[in-house]
Chain length 350, copies 2
DNA sequence: CTGAAAGCGCTTACAG
DNA sequence: CTGAAAGCGCTTACAG
């Protein structure tokens, strides 16, 4: 036997069942439908006399009535939940840019009384369709990468969808950052400082929209500047880069890192190898998420409007829901902005 | 008019309604209940001949039947959703230690086919109770701080609950880290290196379980070592600390930072002020979350078993659900572990 | 302007 | 072993 405890105690003095809409209706002497209509402020409520409305509200309040969400969901054919679909593991999805994206989604959703449900995609693609067909979510937001099986399921179930940071030829609403221009801005900045030997540190990355865009801008910028001969996209890691750097005879003077994770690793590797940033090497990256500003030295970076990306994605799916899928499935591309900090400087005199 | 698009096209060739359980039952020539029982593998299914079970499964599959989650929720009186209740803004809750905690929660939940729903607590405490009374979630996990109004709502609604990193005298299951011992380990480490002038950098923090425990361990350790005269808990920020440090005549040789955020800021402030860590000052902190290991220099820190904390919390609420609240509302305290990196070293010779 | 009724699509005792 | 029925608690056309 457990010791007496608060919850037991309270359940003893307040053991009454939750009141249902029927209880409220009876107490008010009106029909269930009237209670429903009044409490939900449906359009039909306009035709209920203010006096009745007030009474219903008051009695419902007095009884501590709250509509059962479970029942409402069945009757109203909506759950008010938007699934955020992602490929596990989760940590990566809550970090860096995704932190802002999730915040933005959540903010917009909350304002409309929708909720965000995290839905990790299991290993078996055949189950993905079921996530959508069981009518649990009213809409879906897909982060980062749209796998073909998922795309098929999304489209064939007619789920209101928005893609974030995932490109596709499919006609689905999507939110992207103008990564090309962001990278172009970085290059411009480096050129202005006088850099010519600029390399792109990619690391090990699966192909992705962001990869393409950033690399394309890097290449195009170098070419336009007549530096085609110096174009170099490296797939090694930061540690490797730093140790190669020391031995190299033709050192780059600046490096554009594909992610801030890479840049931060590079800062550490540089420190370990006695290289000074930005004196020996300028470093730029993408994403202004924590801790880009807080490392040593603070990183020059391309900020994506992550919170706005999240908001836009949420708006795009809510729009689909509101219009029952009739809304234009438009795409949104948000501006990026270079933020100059202390990891970039003019190259040391040769 | 929008251009023809994939979803329109598909809805034209596959416009059939979702099959319901009744459709399946008819197609199989059995009762709805049989279908339900077989597909859910309820205990009652044992009494259905294997032959029938196979047929039901096959036909359901062929029809692409999937039970409506909306309907199931009403009938089964469970939603399979666990709310993670937190005080906005969200970013803080997805970062640092919470990243691991959320992962752990999600992992355990997913294994049991439960889902995590993020539930930001609005400004109006009176609405919190409604979050719980509308029967949307089967249980709640509260992060970091249990506000009194929420506690009251949780208890009076009998919601299966677990608290993470939030202390309270109330009889609710809770998961804590042994922060006292963690801090004690740090102190031991610093003493071993030869430090005596050790300060605790708290920064601006509202009172909290973690604050109490860490400071208590700091004080106790200093006293036990006969260093009571050097006890100092600072509430300034990292920048202030660094600039005060330079001017101080009796400089500390080591600082224990309340959070890794503070420690990282301090590393930067030290760099800006030309102080070397660990040469001029040893730094330790709490939390082994990103980017503690990746900064310069990598930080000595007390790692909390965050993923395990999340798992335990999820288990505690699932346990309450499984036993209909009869489970012991026990608390779990998880071990912490000091991880020594390069931000600590013996103090410079005086 | 209001109420009776159908319906949302399941699950679960219960009867046979 | 299987099915008919009640019930979960709402919302929403629809009739009056």
């Amino acid at each position: 036997m457990a010791a007496p405890e608060a919850s037991t105690f309270l359940s003893m003095i307040a053991p009454m069942k939750r009141p249902t809409i029927l209880d409220v209706a009876r107490a008010c002497g009106v029909a269930k439908s009237t209670v429903s209509v009044v409490l939900n402020q449906s359009p039909a409520a306009d035709r209920v006399p203010e006096e009745t409305r007030a009474r219903v509200r008051q009695i419902a309040d007095g009884l501590g009535y709250r509509a059962s969400w479970r029942a409402r969901v069945l009757a109203a054919k909506q759950t008010g939940m938007i699934g955020v679909l992602y490929t596990p593991p989760m940590p990566l999805i809550a970090r860096g840019n995704y932190e802002g994206i999730l915040s933005g989604i959540n903010e917009t959703l909350a304002a409309r009384d929708f909720h965000l449900v995290l839905m990790p995609l299991g290993d078996n693609p055949d189950e993905w369709r079921q996530l959508l067909t069981d009518q649990r979510i009213d809409g879906a937001i897909v982060l980062s990468r749209l796998l073909p099986k998922l795309a098929e399921a999304l489209i064939s179930t007619g789920t209101p969808t928005a893609l974030v940071n995932a490109d596709t030829d499919l006609h689905l609403p999507k939110v992207l950052a103008d990564e090309y221009d962001g990278c172009r801005q970085s290059m411009e900045h480096l050129f202005d400082l006088g850099h010519e030997r600029i390399v792109f540190l990619l690391g090990q990355q699966p192909p992705h929209y962001s990869v393409q865009q950033r690399i394309a801008a890097y290449r195009d910028s170098m070419e336009a500047k007549g530096l085609k001969r110096h174009i170099k996209v490296l797939e090694c890691d930061a540690t490797q880069f730093a140790s190669d750097f020391k031995q190299s005879s033709s050192r780059p003077t600046a490096v554009v890192c594909y992610t801030h994770y890479l840049a931060i690793k590079l800062l550490q590797a540089a420190w370990e190898n006695g290289l000074r940033v930005p004196n020996d090497l300028s470093v730029t990256c993408f994403s202004n998420a924590y801790p880009v500003e807080d490392v040593v030295p603070p990183l020059t970076t391309v900020a994506l409007a992550t919170v706005q990306m999240g908001r836009s994605a949420a708006e795009l799916v809510l729009e689909q829901i509101d219009t029952k899928g009739a809304a234009l499935k438009r795409g949104v591309t948000l501006k990026t902005q270079l933020i100059v900090r202390k990891s970039t400087a003019a190259p040391a005199a040769m």
